[in-house]
Symmetry: C2
Subunit: 139 residues, 2 copies
Amino acid sequence: MSKNVKKIDIFNKLRSSGLRPTKQRVEIAKYLFEREKTFHFTVESLDKLLEKKTTSKFALATIYNTVHAFKDAGHLSEVEVRGKKTYFDTNVSDHHHFYDSENSELIDIDANEILIQKIPKAPNGKKIKNVEVFINLKN
Amino acid sequence: MSKNVKKIDIFNKLRSSGLRPTKQRVEIAKYLFEREKTFHFTVESLDKLLEKKTTSKFALATIYNTVHAFKDAGHLSEVEVRGKKTYFDTNVSDHHHFYDSENSELIDIDANEILIQKIPKAPNGKKIKNVEVFINLKN
DNA sequence: TCCTTCTTTATAATAATTCTAAAGTAAATA
DNA sequence: TATTTACTTTAGAATTATTATAAAGAAGGA
């Protein structure tokens, strides 16, 4: 796959999502999507990486805008889970949660109401501390 | 169970956790733990509730301190999951994650590597949007 | 090219949380 | 019990992640 083909791919990816292929979006898209393995990042880490790996400059707000535009277009998924606030729970036993984002409510699920049958091994040198299941709700 | 017994319980709960039973801690502990059902809250919501339900005044920092002290003592669990930052993932397919808090790293787990056998029904009027599994790692 | 619309940018604003330093209180000691 | 020490609370400043704002810049069509 030549560089040219890739460039056209990126352009199409943006165009078909209703996003103008601006210099910034193209560069960020190339950085994010032209790779073999999937890639996890935060806005902060992406900002630092772009600074190192490209010659262009990006305002932090542009990175936020772009990443969210890509997310809205379905090109990225967001692993956000609980928003900004930390929840506390007087139930200290092992259990899981429903999360209702409509009204930001957590509801306990007893550990024995969920049975997990198959689980992957922890990566090398690591152990499993615990398993948390979140069932996200909608109306 | 008389009020007196409860008060002693709270004192013991604090003492045995190495926490001095100060006025603030005792009041917050009574508010959190003297109830039948488990209770979910954020610092913000707890602050508002304490303001309404008690006559004492609490600095916000005290509520943060106290809640974390209770958490460290094992009397509360924290449903925090990913800290403050939002992660993005170039993998947009349905999948789960390992989370390694040692180095704040997310690792993808393919959807078919986890099988959930039993799952509770969504609460009345709600539907299940999706199920996220986090396997938290330790060394 | 000109115009309209969308984007980027720098900066300010917001929200959640933590830090700091001083004042206050509980426990330990004399 | 009086004194000392160590831990807590407090108000406010600082920090961090994120979003909003308003002006300047770039893209696409007539």
